[in-house]
């Protein structure tokens, strides 16, 4: 497959995710290079038309910046600590206040583990966060999980300071998935 075709597929996929059909997750997802993944506590590109002034509380940017889009885990663990539960409760509140959005919960691992074990571990972490959101009242049909294992670290050093940030579940509001 050529690159332009891949780009076309990706844009088709995003287009699909943008419509409000029941199959909104059908071909969507974070896409090939997971653009939302690089949002290290802020916006990756700054090219999304975000201008100065308070964020719209109903915007995905508000969710990721102000509500907080991620929770962290201990080594090899997928259990939620108190801080994670507080963060997920806030996420659930936002999702229930903004019923037009769907979300993808990404599970990640640090690099201290084999590739395939970390994929399974990331799946566990994503499900753990997703289950908590559902328990708080978010419709399960609005959430989908994906594991990236150790493929998409947010911090790149090889010490515990970085590993701790990489063992995470990130709730990504599906781009353009608002139901009109």
């Amino acid at each position: 497959m050529t690159l332009p075709r891949a780009a076309l597929l990706l844009s088709l996929a995003l287009g699909l995710a943008a419509c409000s059909s029941p199959a909104r997750f059908g071909a969507g997802g974070p896409g090939a290079d997971g653009a939302p993944l690089s949002a290290g506590g802020g916006f990756g590109s700054g090219a999304d038309g975000v201008t100065s002034g308070p964020l719209d509380p109903a915007s995905p940017e508000y969710f990721s910046q102000t509500v907080g889009d991620r929770v962290l885990f201990a080594v090899d663990q997928s259990t939620l600590n108190d801080e994670a539960r507080r963060a997920l409760s806030a996420q659930a509140q936002w999702l229930m206040s903004n019923p037009g959005y769907t979300a993808i919960v990404e599970g990640h691992a640090d690099e201290q583990g084999t590739r395939e074990y970390n994929l399974a571990l990331g799946a566990r972490r994503a499900a753990s966060a997703r289950d908590y959101l559902v328990a708080q009242g978010v419709a399960a049909s609005r959430l989908r999980t994906v594991t990236y294992g150790k493929e998409r670290p947010i911090e790149v050093c090889s010490t515990e300071a970085c590993y701790a940030q990489n063992r995470r579940a990130v709730t990504v509001i599906a781009a353009g998935a608002a139901v009109s």
């Binding site: 990706l10 084999t114 590739r115 566990r124």
Partner: protein
């Protein structure tokens, strides 16, 4: 006359493994590297540049000779005697040689060859001589092919020489499928690629538009299984190497799938599926629904079939940390086989059936190791910040794996090591590379 026999311990380091090798021989006998325990003494061989029998064969003869030399010396089992030490030059490809001239430089083996080119077709002939027995070792052989396949012809010569001297099948005429990596650590781009076992002839099978992971060759080398994020979610695919067309495989509903490998029958596929956060092992036979082999709340992944297809070794954290287990190929009660300190993963059954290679993580370091199939006699072959994902050479004597360096600029590369732990070296690749999987020996 003393017929020297070389005891070369290249492959097996402990006495317990000796039973899988040929028994030791008497002091006198034909030229033979016994792959058994002992001290390594690379076997000195003479390899005069192959003779060009047609004018246009000159450069091919040199290149083919160079590849044969690199194959043999690259094993660590052989040492090439520099041609300026020769007391005689080989100018004709003849069935007889003057052994005294080669004894004089202590060459144990002499390899002669000739190359001809006609109409874009290359023909390579070679002979192998046991210098101290003063006898040819096997018949002369010839291989033919197109100019594009010249390296394969050289590898076939090397395989024949290796096989005649060690009694083992070779592994030079083989390919490796792997993941080629570019870009920063937090936005790595990955493409599937194939190369010759020695890193030559890299070809790309996918573009970098989708994250791809952990490819595996089919037993016939014509297809590759891998995991791709093409849909935004990890799913398993099969790719036809010849046509570079790929197919998404039917998987359980609502699942993320990864870690696909072929059974020895080339039809059955074993893989992992994560459903609602729980990862188990499934099989897939063409035309049938996926079948679940494990059913536990723990992680079950990284399956690998025994070469007879009767058993599967896999990784599970049911005990609280990742360990290795063996179960019948149809599913059933698994038997834990790893009991050392640390965490075990990515078990891969040797094509000889005798050993299981694995990744081990202990005390902040990663190792590639091997153990018997019952878990006994564990030996660690490597140690580094991050080694993982072993794959076996087709003859079960060499292991290739991923080694990644630490830190923000950390990059993965491909390395190989003998099953003895000797001859550790990097396999050259054009970019960073990971997840190698060795093909069978090509036909």
């Amino acid at each position: 006359m003393t017929l020297l026999r070389f005891l070369i311990a290249a492959i097996l380091a402990t006495a317990a493994f000796a039973q899988v090798t040929a028994p030791a021989r008497a002091q006198d006998g034909p030229l033979r590297i016994e792959i058994t325990e002992g001290v390594i003494e690379p076997l000195p061989f003479a390899l005069p540049t192959f003779i060009a029998e047609t004018p246009e064969a000159q450069s091919w003869a040199q290149r083919i000779t160079d590849v044969v030399a690199a194959d043999l010396t690259g094993t660590g089992l052989f040492r090439r005697i520099p041609s300026d030490a020769f007391v005689t030059q080989v100018t004709e490809f003849t069935p007889s040689v003057t052994y005294a001239n080669w004894k004089a430089i202590n060459a144990q083996a002499l390899i002669t060859g000739a190359v001809s080119v006609t109409g874009g077709q290359i023909n390579v002939k070679f002979r192998l001589f046991d210098v101290f027995s003063e006898a040819p070792l096997g018949e002369g052989l010839q291989f033919g092919g197109t100019e594009q396949s010249w390296r394969r012809l050289a590898h076939k010569v090397s395989d024949a020489v290796y096989s005649r001297i060690t009694g083992e099948t070779g592994y030079f005429d083989s390919r490796v499928v792997f993941v080629s990596e570019q870009g920063p650590k937090n936005a790595r781009q990955k493409r599937l690629a194939v190369m010759d076992y020695d890193g030559a002839n890299v070809q790309y099978l996918t573009d970098s538009g989708s994250l791809v992971l952990a490819p595996r060759f089919s037993p016939t080398g014509d297809r590759v299984l891998y995991t791709s994020y093409e849909t935004g979610f990890p799913q398993i695919y099969e790719l036809n190497v010849g046509s570079v067309s790929r197919t998404q495989l039917p998987v359980p509903a609502e699942s993320m799938t990864f870690a696909p490998r072929y059974a020895p029958d080339g039809r059955t596929i074993v893989f992992s599926a994560a459903i609602n956060g729980n990862t188990d092992i499934y099989t897939l036979v063409p035309g049938a629904a996926p079948r679940q082999l494990t059913n536990a709340p723990s992680i079950e992944t990284a399956p690998s079939y025994s070469p007879d297809g009767s058993q599967i070794v896999f990784e599970s954290d049911r005990s609280g940390s990742p360990q290795l287990y063996v179960m019948p190929a149809g599913g059933g009660e698994p038997r834990r086989i790893s009991f050392g300190e640390g965490r075990y993963g990515t078990p891969v059954w040797s094509p000889r059936g005798d050993l299981i290679a694995f990744t081990k993580q202990n005390a902040g370091r990663f190792h590639i190791g091997v153990m018997r199939t019952d878990g006994s006699e564990e030996r660690l072959l490597t140690a580094s910040f991050l080694d993982e994902g072993p794959t076996w050479a087709p003859n079960g004597r060499v292991i290739m794996f991923t080694r990644e360096s630490a830190g923000a600029g950390g990059q993965p590369g491909l390395f190989s090591v003998d099953v003895s732990g000797r001859n550790l070296k990097q396999v050259p690749t054009p970019n960073a590379a990971s997840d190698p999987a060795w093909s069978p020996l090509l036909p």
